[in-house]
Amino acid sequence: MGLLALFRRTPSSANVAKERLRIIVAQERSARGGPDYMPLLRRELLEVIRKYVNVDPGAVQINVERDGEHEVLEFSVALPEKAR
């Protein structure tokens, strides 16, 4: 490490690793513990919706929220602008 290193401002590879892990770990944790049928349910729902509206696969969100004793299946679809 010499003089130049003092002025260098590119993010270190350790920081890149940390950011990538932060994202993937958060994503994998949110999928964890959900019912096993979620990926299939998501796919089939998307197929049904696409018969009527051409939505983007990323526009469908399914979540299981725990609220005390209850579990709520939350389902939201963002419709494209033209479909309205």
Binding site: M1, S13, A14, N15, A17, K18, E28
Partner: protein, 270 residues
């Protein structure tokens, strides 16, 4: 009370067996009665690291299948009075392990007055790894400060929180600890390696130990003497500290920073 500790990681080659051997020796050096069990059926290695490979007559699977008694299969360590090794079978496949069989062995060890059972988990998330963690009270998750190891260990944390006896009973689950191995303070300082705090933050675990990268680990496995017994080594000191923390002592982390460079060294390289 017998405490069952699983040493696990998901990823292979991060130091589970080295850690199992050293923690078992460290606990035994403090007078605890310890059994260390190799759960890697078909790929036995703990016996080599412990240096007792020529004394294996009966193994874990023999005990489970009632082909010998537990006492016949426990190998008494030559260095430490209160330390015993239970080797994995080299010839059977992993289906030879059963949950009932493992429970029976643990119950017998408890009846024999063992203080600690250290379970050396195989890599992966299949049967051997599952049974190694299933009855655990605590888990030492061994992680290298590297992306694939961190991600795999997070997967293991998910299994510890759902697929263990304690999780199923709902009585607080398995207590999890993070143990970082192959840590290089120099590479952390130059931004090439994630720091203890980075890994701790990503996984959200308390740190039970940080073991520096060292050639002493290979030398220890060459000789069949667990590295914690090499009192000259920083690795040994790091494992001793981890043992102290497992026993509830508060010990500051060592070997996590490079000695500070002076002004001239920083300006002109070194």
């Amino acid at each position: 009370m017998t405490e069952i500790i699983v040493v696990t990681s998901g990823k292979g080659g991060v130091g589970k067996t080295t850690t199992s051997a050293s923690l078992a020796c460290g606990l035994a050096r403090r007078g605890k009665k310890v059994a260390v069990i190799d759960f890697d059926i078909g790929l036995r290695n703990l016996d080599l690291i412990m240096g007792c490979e020529r004394r294996v007559v009966y193994d874990f699977v023999n005990v489970i299948q009632n082909e010998c008694t537990l006492r016949q299969a426990l190998i008494k360590d030559k260095r430490l009075e209160t330390l015993f090794v239970l080797a994995a079978s080299q010839t059977r496949d992993k289906d030879a392990l059963t949950s009932d069989g493992v429970r029976r062995v643990f119950d017998e060890l408890a009846a024999e007055g063992f203080d600690y059972i250290i379970c050396d988990s195989p890599a992966g998330i299949e049967k051997g790894a599952h049974l190694a963690m299933y009855f655990a009270d605590r888990a030492v998750v061994v992680v290298n400060p590297e992306v694939s190891s961190v991600r795999d260990s997070d997967r293991i944390l998910g299994l510890l929180a759902s697929k263990t006896h304690r999780a199923e009973q709902g009585n607080g689950g398995v207590k999890e600890h993070l143990l970082l191995t192959r840590y290089s303070p120099k590479r952390v300082a130059s931004g090439e390696m994630m720091s203890v705090d980075d890994v701790k933050e990503i996984l959200g675990l308390d740190v039970v130990g940080v073991v520096p990268e060292s050639t002493d680990v290979l030398q220890a496995s060459n000789a069949g003497v667990p590295v914690i017994l090499n009192d000259e080594s920083d690795v040994s000191r790091a494992y001793e500290d981890a043992v102290a923390r497992l026993l509830g002592e508060t010990v500051p982390l060592r070997f996590i920073s490079e000695p500070k460079k002076g002004f001239f060294a920083r300006m002109f390289g070194g």
